[in-house]
Symmetry: C2
Subunit: 96 residues, 2 copies
């Protein structure tokens, strides 16, 4: 299993727009990507503007399929204007 | 749901000792904490010494129970000598 933690900072005032697109992305991933085993959006406690996606994929092919999907491209682009800088992505492999 | 991402850096050469204790902790949490819905250990790709715990709890009481548990205290202490600095903990609430 591959685990991904994506940390995103949103511009002040951009939370609603970001969450609207991000929620659509969560729904689309979970509906359409059998190789994606976890895809959830969290908001950092004690921060007004920081979010985390927790993601798990059964293998690298599933990661590649996610990144190549129309919903990722379309909704990723929709989130872009609300982001403050580039996401920080931590890519990992499961130990236990 | 509360999500926690714990980032830990291990001293060079400490990987085996750290993983031995960390795997025991994963097993103990999953066997004994009904309020903990996800508790997994991942190793960061392209790093020899960085690890991530992905954790999810049904509520703050479950987080508190985790931190107060004997297994967390004992195995957390067992991991301590292998760590290079303090863990970085990201505490979050689920959005979607």
């Amino acid at each position: 299993m591959i685990g991904v933690v994506a940390q995103l900072k949103v511009k002040e005032g951009g939370q609603d727009g970001f969450e609207e697109a991000a929620k659509k992305l969560v729904a689309a991933v979970n509906a359409n990507e059998p190789g994606c085993k976890l895809y959830q959006l969290f908001k950092v406690q004690e921060s007004a503007t920081d979010y985390v996606f927790m993601e798990q994929y059964e293998n690298q092919a599933a990661v590649d399929a996610h990144r190549a999907s129309d919903h990722f491209k379309t909704l990723g682009a929709a989130m872009g204007p609300f982001l403050d800088g580039r996401p920080v992505i931590i890519r990992t492999d499961i130990v236990e």
